[in-house]
Symmetry: C2
Subunit: 300 residues, 2 copies
DNA sequence: GCATACTGGTGCAATTTTTGCACCGATTGG
DNA sequence: CCAATCGGTGCAAAAATTGCACCAGTATGC
């Protein structure tokens, strides 16, 4: 969009940190770019950059303007998506911020299902922990967030909440399979493979451990759920994950079962969007599909 | 703002209904304007106007775009207002949609009070009935609405609600002043001066009359609250209004007192804004002042 | 049936805006 | 002290926008 060119250039300067670098990125001369910035500031009424000896940085007014620019761009995308929709075209782009647990099975299945009907719709998946996911929504970097146990919940509009019990993962044939109900204390005697503190599963486990007067001392702490899954069979350890990221034990190649609810309270897997935001058609429809899929999981 | 020029031109065409008329309004040639519209449509990807033998009219895509244009413009105004605020300047413009009852005393006082502190802030007051006021908010024509008994309340964010009993107005010395509690039936024997059905007072009276098996047969029906006020003394009639638009009886030049609550339920005077909208600084601050003033009225 | 007054659209030249080039002054780091 | 940055500016070339003259189509009035 031609009339958005000035905004693009401003963003380029913000990214590059100096007019000269931004000029290279945008295939312009520094002088031309300089004058566009100056021209805009004059129209706008206030400077939006601080001129430092090293380059340019947004001043507070510029920060406010950047919010406007981002809103403006996403709202235009929404309009174009709605227009495409009313002329029968089903194009668009859906960006999702999600927890790792959704990556192996749930999201690939859902995306494939959606794209079977709407091949013109493209997706981007941003793996984020629960705090980052919300920031992603707020900065319009993602349309939807599907996260386990988010932290703030301000500015977050919950579309669906699916309870998820924390599952323990262990090698096939482990004695943990035999006890009638899996208690947290049964697990704590084993070597532990835990996600880092940024993750909801770890948070729920910490709360549970504290309430029975124990502390968690992991043998391996990692941000990779994949690593957790694979490591438990290597060292006869116990890992923890939520079931939406797991196949049934008979297919998974390792055993897993939920921890007793009286020990570890179930967490909530939340599908949400930025409060008050009108989503592009494709994102809104995909969100509806996800709600239906999560409902089916809740009451099978 | 130069980069908004295309949007201004589109709006001009929408208003004028044809390129040639819009060209005159915008001091451009029809050909230049024509090509800008065509150029935008090409960039946008779809036509936004229907070409009729009589001129141009927005198509559905154009309607969607107009929403975006309006949002974009008001959001820019918000940013500029916030920027002005952080550089210490207290400029801005506040537009209010309100019922007639606020015109004689309440709003003039409040505006004068605000402008005493912030002379750089200007106001526009749009007198609207309760349905129109909400449409005004939705189309970003007004920042705030102060209305009696609004109808829909979707998209309406209530900032404050002040209960208002319906008052009966009558000439000084009327026997209505003497009864211990003013009942609706006492009034119905007099000649009635009523606002039209668009107004909340009329609505409350209709409900009350129906519930005691009576109907309202006004001698004079008008949209002008001013006329109601002045007419009651002319023909010894009874009118109805809410107290926020009235001076105390001793100053008003006519008598008035509230109707019994068991006959006519009190209505609500609502101060509100469009749900989810971030108001310009001046509007937000004036809104806060109004809330404080209404609170003072509620608990004197 | 035909002139008239509208409408949007287009080729081409004039005009305005934007851009690139060659610089300047200032600051920083080796 | 010099080289490498940075933002900013005068001036001419390049590009976009605009105005003028005109076309084709369609209602309207006589």
């Amino acid at each position: 969009m031609r009339y958005l060119r000035t905004f693009e250039l401003i963003e380029a300067v913000v990214r590059a940190g100096s007019i000269r670098k931004a000029a290279e990125d945008t295939n312009l001369t520094a002088s031309a770019l300089n004058r566009r910035i100056q021209g805009f500031e004059q129209e706008f009424g206030w400077p939006i950059f601080e001129r430092l000896p090293r380059g340019m940085r947004l001043n507070p007014a510029g920060e406010l303007l950047m919010q406007h620019i981002r809103l403006q761009r996403t709202d235009l995308a929404r309009v174009q998506s709605q227009v495409a929709d009313l002329s029968g075209e089903r194009r668009g782009h859906v960006s999702i911020a999600c927890s790792q647990a959704l990556l192996p099975y749930f999201l690939p299945e859902q995306i494939a299902l959606y794209r079977a009907d709407h091949p013109g719709v493209t997706f981007s998946i941003n793996v984020r922990d629960r705090a980052q996911a919300e920031r992603d929504l707020a900065s319009y970097s993602s349309d939807l967030a599907l996260v386990f146990e988010p932290v703030h919940l301000v500015e977050f509009d919950v579309l669906y909440a699916l309870p998820q019990r924390v599952h323990a993962l262990y090698p096939s044939g482990s004695p943990l399979d035999d006890v009638p109900a899996l208690r947290l204390r049964d697990c704590l005697n084993h070597r532990l493979v835990l996600p880092t503190a940024a993750y909801g599963v770890r948070n729920l486990l910490e709360i549970a451990a504290t309430s029975i007067g124990r502390t968690l001392t992991p043998a391996l702490e990692t941000e990779s759920f994949d690593l957790i899954r694979h490591y438990v069979t290597q060292e006869n350890a116990v890992g923890f994950q939520i079931p939406i990221g797991l196949k049934p034990p008979e297919e998974a190649g390792f055993g897993h079962r939920p921890l007793a609810e009286r020990d570890v309270r179930p967490g909530r897997l939340l599908l949400g969007q930025l409060k008050g935001r009108a989503l592009p058609v494709a994102s809104a429809k995909f969100g509806q599909q996800l709600v239906a899929a999560l409902e089916a999981l809740a009451a099978p």
